[in-house]
Each structure stands twice: as structure tokens, then as C-alpha cells.
């Protein structure tokens, strides 16, 4: 099993920072780019971003930890996000979320021990008229039922 992401190296991190550090308010842009490359934001990137943007490490760490999107450790090979917001709740989303947890043997917010699947909550994909919905590695799926969810979980486990 190969990872979809690059492994951390400082030179690549510096390159990513240099691509964006002239933008106004670049911190989030750089954090997003780091996560896209490495699958998470590696700890050593924080002081590098701080230095490039003339910010303190505490400031960058504060931004990094404020936003739900930024991961502190690598995600599984596949990321399955299940919508937990009201429109999906109204359409039976809670039972499907519990079913995904049971199938994968992990609670939402965790990665399977074999590092294949990370199961995350998401608060609204804007697919509220075709609820319940989920997203597997950027692919959106609506009108989820038990059968479709099982197929998604099986796909993520492959």
C-alpha cells in the first residue's frame, strides 16, 4: 500500500511556502497547501511558516489549531466524511453515521488501525435536498441508504 501523499521534507516545505508567501494573509493558504502535499500539517512546518511570514510560532500554531480542517497527523489512505448536520439528521443520517462507525470499528474522528480509512464528521456539504450525504476522498455521494453506505465503506477499505 503506497501513500497518496509525499512524505515530509524540509526543502519541499520551503518550496510550498515560497509559492504563496507574497499573498495578503497567506497563513491559511500555506496550511492548506501543506496538507494537500503531505496529508497533514507536519509540526516542523509551523516555525518555517512563522519565519517566512514574520509571525510568531505561537500565532501560526494558533491558526493551525483553530480550524477543524487541519490535521495534526497523517490521515488514512481514504477519508470518508459523513454529514452530521440538521438536514442529514432529519433524513436519517445519525443511524448511518453509527453504522459507518460499527462497520469500520472506529468512532468518528479516528483512523482505522491499518491506516486505510479515516472517518470524519462534516457539517454540511450543501447537499441538503439529497440528504443524507457523504464525501469519499473529494467525491460527493447523496441519498445515502444502508446499501449505498455499505458500498462506500467497502470501497474505502479496499
Amino acid at each position: 500500500m503506497t501513500s497518496a501523499y509525499e512524505s515530509w521534507n524540509e526543502a519541499r516545505g520551503a518550496e510550498i511556502i515560497a509559492e504563496h508567501d507574497k499573498l495578503e494573509g497567506a497563513t491559511l493558504v500555506i496550511l492548506h497547501a501543506m496538507q494537500e502535499a503531505f496529508g497533514y500539517v507536519p509540526e516542523p512546518a509551523i516555525p518555517m511558516i512563522a519565519s517566512a511570514l514574520s509571525l510568531s510560532r505561537a500565532e501560526v500554531h494558533g491558526v493551525f489549531t483553530f480550524y477543524h480542517d487541519f490535521r495534526h497527523e497523517p490521515a488514512g489512505r481514504h477519508v470518508l466524511k459523513i454529514c452530521r448536520a440538521e438536514a442529514c439528521q432529519a433524513a436519517g443520517g445519525d443511524a448511518l453515521a453509527a453504522r459507518a462507525e460499527a462497520k469500520l470499528g472506529i468512532a468518528i474522528g479516528n483512523t482505522t488501525p491499518d491506516a486505510r480509512v479515516t472517518l470524519e464528521p462534516i457539517y454540511c456539504l450543501g447537499l441538503c435536498a439529497t440528504a443524507p450525504s457523504a464525501m469519499l476522498d473529494g467525491r460527493v455521494v447523496g441519498r445515502l441508504d444502508e446499501q449505498r453506505l455499505d458500498a462506500l465503506v467497502a470501497e474505502a477499505q479496499r
Partner: protein, 518 residues
């Protein structure tokens, strides 16, 4: 002539298989040797019929839906043979659900190719900008004011006044910011218009830039909307290439350019000052007002910050439609509102109509009740910070003031329908929990109040000292409502208190004394 077939590329359609349908149609065409062109449009917003496909005929477009990939070949045969098909819906424009709408903002959504500026122009696009370029700043502001447009993000502040304030504030730089952090569950109008008609957002923001003297704009889109991010970026690139963004816009002396920024999963960033902090690269901590963003906004400069739908309403208004726009609606709610019907609803989707339609018409008549077939018990209007209404309040007209008078809000126009299996104590708990997780932490009522709220509702659910704990919840709600800096802490009491008020039976037995009094 090549047959033109339209298939939505809207995320809501793709989520139920539109890409597979498009591929299957292509294969069917190859197999039969008939030349077709598949145009990927936005969605018409009739989501229960997605994937819906349309074919151009001499009478207009004819729709089929919901079409699965397995249906594609038989639908294609029916199209080419002109024979009947069970999924044939007739002329799209004649579908009653669409026909009874008043589509001003969403006129082109689902009709045009969202990546083609030529298509946009062929459907009245850029007429607003062309006229704005012949007007003075004051004349543009007069049109916006005359239209009666109020901020569609939820607060309903008059757009004309906001723009005028920025226009009158002098500074070395000004900004236009589009709030596309549509985090409310049950809302998807911003997503739809960005994916289905992105140029209307670009045009609206460009007109704002010209009106107030700003040359740079940002669109802050939530990360949960990757399709919208891609659609806006593609449209911005086209607009730059064709002279609609950049220096000397369409040969005028005006400069205006746009950049998309992506959020990072913080609900509170939909609050305008928090969004500005986030755009500046900081934690999304709410700012105290004053100063207003119109005076000191992004990077301390005067800033127009409006919702996607507010900007998207502008081109129609500037294309000579200010009075026509204001003629729709009721009271102080002028124009049309793109209402979003969601959750457990039979006919969910985007319904743009003049203000004044009642909640009951929207749920029962237009929405067709629940898809589970069970009775509607509660509807949440206006997202996670909106009130839950019972059937007894279904006569409430869709209007900012009418909802406020009944302790609710229309917010961004989303309606989430729940059937009779809903547990309202659980929903009240969720509202507090959501606030606790999403609170930026700046003000105490929101940060602490929501956590205490969860703990206290848990006690009520466990049946511990119900009446005392209900009093604590009410007290917490009052503190949050009147003591919070922004709408997150300030409005979380709406779902909580409305659940308590209208669905008291879900919170355990009523106190013995009250029972005796009855």
C-alpha cells in the same frame, strides 16, 4: 444538426450520479451513430428529479428525470425516436414546480454552461455591468437602494446603505468581499449559484467595486464546497481572459480583480468579522463592532462584505430592474428570496419566489410534505441558529419581520423538515453542542454558556430536576442572546428556546404544580 443534451454538473446532481449518466448518454450516442453535444450546466434546483437531463427541441428544452445510468440508453432512444418514456417530464419551463417560481437571481442557473462567458452574455449576462459603466457611483448606489435589496446572508441589512458607507469613506485601498461560507445546514443556494452561474457573482462584485471605488475582491468559499471553488476559479480565469476582470474592464477606466480563498472548516467564519480575520490569515475570532467593516474591514480598509446571493441579485437590479425588483415582496422585505427546501422533504430544492409566501405553502404544497410519508412535526428555518416551528405557525409569511415577530428568523432561507420521529430535546442539545464546538471563544456567554447548555440539557434528558434545569437553560439562553458578540452565541437560543416552547413534551414530564393547575 448536432443534438444538444444538458446534464447538470452541480454537486447535488453529481452526488446522485449525474457524471455516470452523462457518460452513459455519450456511449448510447456512439452506439447509435448520432452526433450529440453534452452541455454540463448547473442545476435547475429540482433535486428530487436529479439527475435530470434536458434536450433542446424546437419547442424548448424537454426534461427527463430522475435518470439513472441504467436508464440512459432507453431515454436516449426515446429522445431520438420522439417516443414516450416514463421519465419524460415535458417542457422544463412548464414543470409546475419551476413555472410558479419567480427566478430573478437564478434565471440562468441550470440553463447555461457555467464556464462560458458567451453563454452568460447570450442570456442577459453583463447587461448590469454595461449599464453601471455609464453611471456615476451615486447613480449605482441609488439603484441598489431603490431595489430595497437587503443582505441575503441572514442579517437583512440594507445593501444600498452598506455600499454608500464604503463609498463615502476615503482610503488608499478598499475591498469587496463575498461571503461564500455557507455553513448553515439546509442551505445550498450559494453553492448552486457559484456552480451554476458563477459570472453573476463576478458581475455583482465588479459592480460593487465600481460603485464604491474598490479594485480588489475576495470570495471566501468554505472548504466543504470543492465544486464551487473549482467553478468560481474557472469563471474568474475566463473573465480575466475576456477583459471582464483585471485592468481597464471592458475598455473602461476601472480596474477590478478577484481571488478565491478557501476556508478551513470553521462555522463561525460565516460571521463577517470572523471571516475578515480568517482572510487576513488569522484565527477566525469575531471582532467587536464598531468599527464597522464598511469603515475598517479587511486589512483595516473600508470593505463591502456581502453574501453571495446579495451580489448575485445586483446584475438584474443594475440592468434597469431596480423598480421591478422592488415591486416583488411584502413590507420591508422586497424582491425575491431563493428559498431552499431540505431535509426530510418530498420535493426538495431551490424555490425562488417573492417574499410573502407562507411556511405552510412551502412545506405542504410546494415541498409535498416528508419523503418518509410521515407527518411533518417541526421545521427549522434559517440554519442551525434558526428557530424550530411547529405546524401551528405554518401561517407565518416568509418575511424578515414576520419571522422575527414569532421569535424566529429566515436567515439564509434554508428550511429543514423533520417528521414525527424527531426528538426535540436531542435537537436542542445539538444546537448547544454545535455552538460549543464552533464558538470562537472570544466572548464568555457563547463559550461557557453553550457548554453549560449541553450539560444542563443532558440532565433534563436524564430526568434530573427537570423544572429547575429548564429554568437554568432559559437563563443561559437569555445570557447568550443578550451578551454574545455575534450571531453564533446570540442566536443559538432560537433553536433551543423554540424547541422548549413548542415541543415541551419532549423535555420530560411537566412540573406537578403546573399539571395540577391544568
Amino acid at each position: 444538426m448536432t443534438m444538444r443534451i444538458f446534464v447538470s454538473r452541480d454537486a447535488g446532481a453529481v452526488a446522485v450520479g449525474a457524471d455516470d449518466v452523462a457518460r452513459a448518454l455519450e456511449q448510447a450516442a456512439i452506439k447509435s451513430g448520432i452526433a450529440i453535444e453534452i452541455v454540463r450546466t448547473g442545476s435547475r434546483g429540482l433535486y428530487w428529479l436529479e439527475p435530470m437531463i434536458e434536450v433542446a427541441t424546437s419547442q424548448g428544452r424537454v426534461a427527463f428525470g430522475p435518470v439513472s445510468a441504467a436508464d440512459a440508453a432507453s431515454v436516449f432512444d426515446a429522445i431520438t425516436a420522439g417516443s414516450p418514456h416514463p421519465l419524460r417530464l415535458g417542457l422544463t419551463e412548464e414543470i409546475p414546480w419551476l413555472k410558479r417560481q419567480t427566478r430573478l437571481t437564478f434565471a440562468r442557473c441550470g440553463v447555461i454552461d457555467p464556464r462560458s462567458v458567451g453563454d452568460y452574455r447570450a442570456h442577459d449576462g453583463y447587461k448590469g455591468l454595461e449599464r453601471a459603466l455609464t453611471l456615476t457611483s451615486d447613480e449605482i448606489l441609488a439603484d441598489v437602494t431603490a431595489s430595497g435589496l437587503r443582505g441575503r446572508g441572514g442579517a437583512g441589512f440594507p445593501t444600498g446603505i452598506k455600499w454608500k458607507t464604503v463609498a463615502q469613506t476615503s482610503a488608499d485601498r478598499k475591498y469587496i468581499v463575498c461571503n461564500a461560507d455557507e455553513g448553515d445546514s439546509g442551505t445550498f443556494a450559494d453553492r448552486m449559484i457559484m456552480e451554476g452561474d458563477p459570472f453573476v457573482v463576478i458581475e455583482g462584485m465588479t459592480i460593487a467595486g465600481i460603485a464604491v471605488g474598490a479594485t480588489k475582491g475576495y470570495i471566501y468559499i468554505r472548504s466543504e464546497y470543492p465544486h464551487a471553488v473549482a467553478a468560481m476559479n474557472a469563471a474568474i480565469a475566463v473573465a480575466r481572459r475576456t477583459g471582464y476582470l483585471g485592468e481597464r474592464i471592458v475598455g473602461s477606466n476601472h480596474t477590478f480583480d478577484l481571488e478565491v480563498r478557501v476556508g478551513a472548516g470553521a462555522y463561525v467564519c460565516g460571521e463577517e468579522t470572523s471571516l475578515l480575520e480568517s482572510l487576513e490569515g488569522r484565527r477566525g475570532i469575531v471582532r467587536a463592532k464598531p468599527p464597522l467593516p464598511a469603515h475598517k474591514g479587511l486589512f483595516g480598509r473600508p470593505t463591502v462584505i456581502n453574501n453571495v446571493l446579495s451580489f448575485a441579485a445586483i446584475p438584474f437590479i443594475l440592468a434597469g430592474g431596480a423598480k421591478a425588483y422592488a415591486d416583488f415582496g411584502m413590507g420591508r422585505s422586497r424582491g425575491t428570496m431563493p428559498i431552499q427546501l431540505a431535509g426530510n422533504i418530498l420535493h426538495g430544492g431551490l424555490f425562488e419566489t417573492a417574499f410573502g409566501v407562507t411556511l405552510g405553502e412551502l412545506i405542504d404544497d410546494i415541498g409535498g410534505g416528508t419523503f418518509t410519508g410521515r407527518p411533518v412535526r417541526a421545521v427549522q428555518v434559517g440554519g442551525p441558529l434558526g428557530a424550530y416551528f411547529p405546524r401551528a405557525l405554518f401561517d407565518t409569511p416568509f418575511d424578515y419581520e414576520a419571522f422575527a415577530a414569532r421569535d424566529g428568523l429566515i436567515g439564509h432561507g434554508g428550511i429543514v423538515v423533520f417528521d414525527d420521529s424527531v426528538d426535540m430535546a436531542k435537537q436542542a442539545r445539538f444546537a448547544m453542542e454545535f455552538c460549543a464546538v464552533e464558538s470562537c471563544g472570544k466572548c464568555t456567554p457563547c463559550r461557557i454558556g453553550s457548554t453549560r447548555g449541553v450539560e444542563t440539557i443532558d440532565k433534563i434528558i436524564r430526568g434530573e430536576r427537570t423544572s429547575e434545569n429548564l429554568a437554568v437553560v432559559e437563563d443561559l439562553c437569555n445570557t447568550m442572546k443578550f451578551g454574545s458578540l455575534c450571531a453564533l452565541g446570540g442566536f443559538t437560543p432560537y433553536p433551543v428556546m423554540s424547541a422548549l416552547k413548542h415541543f415541551r413534551e419532549d423535555f420530560g414530564p411537566a412540573p406537578a404544580t403546573l399539571q395540577a393547575a391544568e
